[in-house]
Symmetry: C2
Subunit: 411 residues, 2 copies
């Protein structure tokens, strides 16, 4: 890491974001990021897959898109189509899919297909930080719809759409994470999905469905995707293998009508996403995906139980949360006097990384005392130790939880 | 591939590029794109590398950046630092490198660090289409500097910089492909490199050095990188493994002072580039890269010879070109009456894909009768057949080459 005598800074656009801080390693107790359980990476099966596919098709790596075109490695697209039919009720073919470099590239492409500075979009009030930040960077206004235990509230959505229409604003899309919502963990019911689609049609506002956590449901059962339920094809659907196989592979997908895919492909000027990872995934998924996911869910559910027990032990009634039906994170309400942005800083200094609520919400007062805790990556022991230490930090900074809370032990 | 009853089109920004055309397979004679020689993909060594690195570190795929941070897989950064020291005279460490999803992502990031709509940059007059197109999309003005057999002409650069300064314009950077220039194949001499650096300093305009073809030099000898020669650190250097190992792996790198890397990292919101590909490359490159590259160059040089012989046989004196010192493409001048944009269309209809000059130049009249022919991917036989067919198309459309040209056989 070296610096330069050249005056670069005077050339930077004023709109450039602040420089990144030098990375110095992850926190000891790392409860942030979509990292997964290292023990659950199917290493041997991925190794066998890499062996087989390289032996059979390795020469195709000489071609930017391994001779299957800009939509991505065809056998993986075929697997995605089968998987979506089986799990999400989506009827599509490999032609309706574009493989991308993680669902983050899907966000970038679809955002760019619809939005420009000054536009308006509708989000769940609490949402993925990376999605919210992208809109801020693009200068797009986000209207947040409150959630309850059943996901996005349709009465609030109806009111927001009516209000925007009255003001002459047609939002570019309704962005939703309906199936294991990030960060609240809720699943939008089928009835609400029907209502969401009805409102989408009535107001001519398409739905942008981000289903990147939908594989991680303890029961293995999920409602059909909005994409599957739309009678007029008014939904763009994205998903990922980051949560179900391994995040570092960076493979996601877009399912959409050709009107959208052709626009997204025109913006995808990366000469193709990494093909080896697509090839290895396809080779792995066909025989192993369906058996792998329930095993992974079992391991994640066990970690969630450890997290919830640790919170109850250490925070008592000071930490409020719902037992989520899936996912890798828990959305926790702390007492009102807790400023989670300050807690975040103090916890980090103590070696604990958490997500402060305001970074995962467009409603600062509502999220002020809330935090997101990711539980997939740390070990059971790290979860117990980390939450105990977090309680110490919280107590010394905000006077909560009271020490007496500790007496509440697991049932 | 399906279409929708939903009216998406009325929501698209006016600035959206035209939709992509559905891919229907590569041309039979494919002389476009940076594809490489399928026979030269080191499949067995990559397989062994994948095996070894997955067995040893596969669990790290549970972490977005395999626990080595947002700059990318550390062992590959360490290899790049060694390689650049050995080959390009660059003295740097893993801390000075960011791994990216192909050098195309490097272009996007560095362009965004410096440029906004209305800015001006300096390019070689003939340059990589993907770079030129990116500037057009961003609304950035490109000033083109003519090349000769020795690369960018320093007299023309000096004049352009003086002219821009007189008009109050400080260009954001001088973008150059100095080492096997695309499409002309030239190598900028060390003397011109000194002059380029002097002008860069004098006018306070940094250099953006794209060295993605620099490994493919027949002699194995290259001048030091501009990055290595700059005394004040006024150069951003990018490179790639696409040309030297396999394009579909999508792994490139940026070498720059921290002032630049920290800005690029702030814009790199993709949660890391594909880690498996970085891991496999690192494992492969350490023992094999130095022996692999000369073998690859030998195979490419042989294809170039076939291409030049075929052109001489089929076009005679109607095809003018220099024998390039490396690379995967030949820049060919056809007779003035040839409109290469029309030739491109007619050739494509006949099953031959070529790059028309105007897409690789900011000077339309100069490039009108020029074409770029990539020779790495087609077989020797395809090169011979494809060039013979191209001569037929050219003759029927433009009356050149005359049929008598065919009598000129190889020496």
């Amino acid at each position: 890491m070296r610096s330069s005598a050249f005056d670069f800074a005077s050339l930077f656009p004023a709109s450039l974001p602040a420089p990144a801080v030098k990375w110095t390693g992850a926190a000891r107790y790392n409860f942030v990021g979509g990292h997964n359980d290292p023990e659950m990476v199917p290493v041997e099966a991925l190794r066998a897959a890499a062996n087989a596919v390289l032996a059979r098709e390795g020469q195709a790596l000489s071609n930017y898109t391994v001779n299957t075109g800009p939509q991505g490695y065809r056998p993986l697209r075929e697997f995605v189509a089968e998987k979506l039919k089986r799990d999400a009720g989506i009827s599509c073919t490999a032609e309706d899919i574009v493989l991308v470099s993680g669902s983050l590239q899907a966000l970038d492409l679809i955002n760019a297909v619809f939005c420009e500075r000054g536009d308006t979009v509708i989000y769940e009030q609490e949402s993925y930080q990376g999605s919210i930040n992208r809109m801020a960077r693009m200068g797009v206004n986000v209207v947040g719809i409150p959630l309850d235990d059943g996901g996005m509230r349709m009465d609030a959505l109806a009111a927001a759409l009516a209000d925007l229409k009255a003001r002459g604003v047609r939002p570019k899309f309704i962005y939703t994470i309906p199936t294991v919502q990030n960060p609240t963990g809720t699943i939008l019911s089928e009835a609400r999905r029907h209502e969401l689609l009805r409102l989408s049609e009535e107001y001519g506002v398409p739905i942008f469905e981000d289903d990147c956590y939908a594989d991680l449901i303890w029961s293995g059962k999920r409602p059909p995707a909005l994409y599957a339920m739309s009678k007029i094809g008014g939904v763009v659907h994205i998903g990922s293998f980051s949560k179900s196989v391994a995040p570092a592979l960076r493979v996601g997908y877009i399912v959409a009508p050709w009107e959208i895919l052709s626009r997204a492909l025109a913006l995808k000027t990366d000469a193709g996403s990494g093909a080896l990872e697509q090839m290895v995934l396809a080779e792995f998924c066909k025989p192993h995906f369906q058996a792998h996911v329930p095993k992974l869910c079992g391991a994640l559910r066990a970690k969630l139980v450890t997290l919830m027990e640790s919170l109850s032990e250490q925070f008592g009634t000071s930490a409020e949360f719902e037992d989520p039906p899936g996912g890798i994170f828990l959305w926790v309400k702390l007492p009102d006097q807790v400023d989670s942005m300050r807690l975040y800083q103090k916890a980090l200094a103590a070696g604990i990384a958490i997500n402060p609520g305001p970074e995962w919400s467009v409603n600062a007062p509502y999220s002020k005392s809330r935090i997101r805790i990711c539980f997939a990556s740390p070990s059971h022991e790290q979860i117990r130790e980390g939450i105990a230490l977090l309680a110490e930090v919280c107590r010394s900074e905000f006077g909560v939880p009271l020490r007496s809370a500790n007496v509440q032990k697991r049932a």
